[in-house]
């Protein structure tokens, strides 16, 4: 039973992260390369959703939106909430990563005749990707752990599945510890996996230290 809950947790995490990624990439682009209006709108978006607690956001999506006629299933609401909040954080990861590739790299790419798009594609992006891996791993584990807030909307993920078991076995310590262990295991595996990716992509002399939790 816990395994089924774990599966839902993994789904929430991956879909939330995925949605966050899809929104974050254009937002970060607009913040770095966009005009004044685009930058302003994106900054507003990013500030707003970094400031609202996830639980409040979930309540707004699930209970608030139906009032104006927009209704989502609990699972979808959670993916939306997790995704929107994560997009705000991920956009900052990507923005920082793009900016940490020095201006000189773009100038050099332009100087050998690359178009602005080619400079980004072949020179800036490959380096920004590497810069963003460590903070992105961090975001990965945050979304993984925060998916437990889906509990509040009645989504049967790991934590709720655990509490169902407790209602029949009356063993909260054992069951919640098991849940905690499963979260720990998933977080560690995620870190391990991303650490491996990071090593694979490492530029000699440009090593970044692995982030641990």
């Amino acid at each position: 039973m816990l395994l089924k809950g774990t599966l839902v947790t993994v789904e929430l995490t991956i879909l939330g992260l995925g949605l966050g990624f899809l929104i974050a990439v254009p937002v970060s682009f607009a913040q770095v390369y966009g005009g004044r209006v685009a930058r302003l709108i994106c900054s507003l978006y990013e500030r707003t959703f970094r400031s609202i607690p996830l639980l409040v956001l979930l309540m707004l999506v699930f209970y608030g939106l139906p009032q104006i006629g927009i209704r989502f299933a609990p699972f979808v609401s959670c993916v939306l909430g997790l995704g929107i909040r994560s997009s705000a954080y991920q956009s900052q990861i990507f923005r920082g990563a793009i900016l940490s590739v020095g201006k000189g790299q773009t100038l050099a790419a332009l100087s050998i005749g690359m178009t602005p798009f080619e400079s980004f594609r072949y020179i800036v992006f490959p380096q920004a990707l590497r810069f963003s891996l460590a903070p992105w791993t961090n975001e990965f584990t945050i979304v993984l752990k925060d998916s437990s807030m889906a509990y509040a909307l009645g989504v049967v993920e790991l934590l709720r599945q655990g509490s169902y078991i407790i209602s029949t076995t009356y063993e909260p310590m054992v069951i919640f510890l098991t849940c905690a262990a499963i979260y720990l295991l998933m977080t560690l595996s995620a870190n391990k996996l991303m650490g491996y990716v990071e090593k694979k992509l490492q530029i000699p002399g440009f090593e970044t230290k692995e982030v641990s939790h």
Binding site: A108, G113, M114, E118, P126, Q127, I203
Partner: protein
């Protein structure tokens, strides 16, 4: 008739209220090396950046072999202009070899084999064949700058621009970069060089251009500028440089 490779006409550039270039005109003919000297903050680097439109000038024209460089054709024209930066700007995520051949592959669309061959040729010309597989962070400053020169040369440019190529280098590494540049000048490359290396200027320059406050103060053959400058400012500046750097560093 000697062909004019680069022609700059009345170039002006402001940053806000600050006038950086106040109307610069000059010409570089095929095979010539012209050296621009002058105090820092006088627009020398801005002038080079305006030539290949890394900085958009406010006024004036730049022509490469008679064809005007505009913001629209800039990325095509830049292929014909090699640019060497003060702080190298090698692509950090690529090996020396990839740094040199990426432009050939992605911009000139050559096959990988062809690009590799040209890149290795250029690396050997700057004496770095053995470093082809190393990343920029594994190279010394002088080696990085030589790779950067090879990267620019690989595109077979009509003109090379050097923006203080040795200013970021330790003194003992300057010689190796200058000797590559001297060979290049002697091989008939057309070059416009911003530098404080008076020894280099004396050795290969066909003309010295002294710039200050966004204007050309004086220009002429090195023998004349060095031994008998016409303007007081030129004399003062040269005296200062000599005090700072010593008489000459290279023959």
């Amino acid at each position: 008739m000697i062909q004019v490779v680069l022609k700059i006409e009345d170039l002006k550039k402001n940053y806000g209220k600050a006038e950086i270039l106040k109307g610069i005109s000059l010409e570089v003919k095929k095979g010539e090396t012209k050296v621009i000297i002058g105090p820092s903050g006088t627009g020398k680097s801005t002038l080079l950046a305006c030539v290949n439109r890394l900085v958009e000038p406010d006024h004036g024209r730049v022509l490469l072999e008679g064809e005007e460089i505009t913001s629209r054709n800039a990325h095509k024209m830049r292929q014909k202009i090699g640019y060497v930066f003060q702080d190298f700007n090698l692509f950090n995520h690529l090996t020396a070899l990839d740094n040199v051949r990426i432009g050939l592959i992605k911009v000139q669309k050559l096959s990988k084999e062809e690009a590799t061959q040209i890149a290795l040729e250029q690396l050997s010309k700057v004496g770095l064949s053995e470093k082809a597989s190393l990343y920029p962070s594994q190279l010394s400053g002088g080696q990085k700058q030589r790779v950067a020169i090879a990267r620019a040369l690989a595109m077979r440019p009509k003109l090379m621009l050097f923006d203080e190529p040795t200013s970021a280098l330790d003194p003992e590494l300057i010689g190796e970069v200058l000797s590559v540049m001297i060979d290049l000048a002697r091989s008939g490359m057309t070059m416009l060089v911003v530098t404080h290396e008076l020894g280099f200027a004396r050795t290969v320059a066909d003309e010295i251009i002294f710039m200050e406050n966004g204007l050309i103060v004086e220009q002429g053959p090195p023998a004349l500028i060095f031994s008998n400058p016409q303007k007081d400012r030129t004399r003062q500046f040269l005296r200062k440089l000599t005090e700072l750097y010593g008489e000459e560093r290279i023959k």
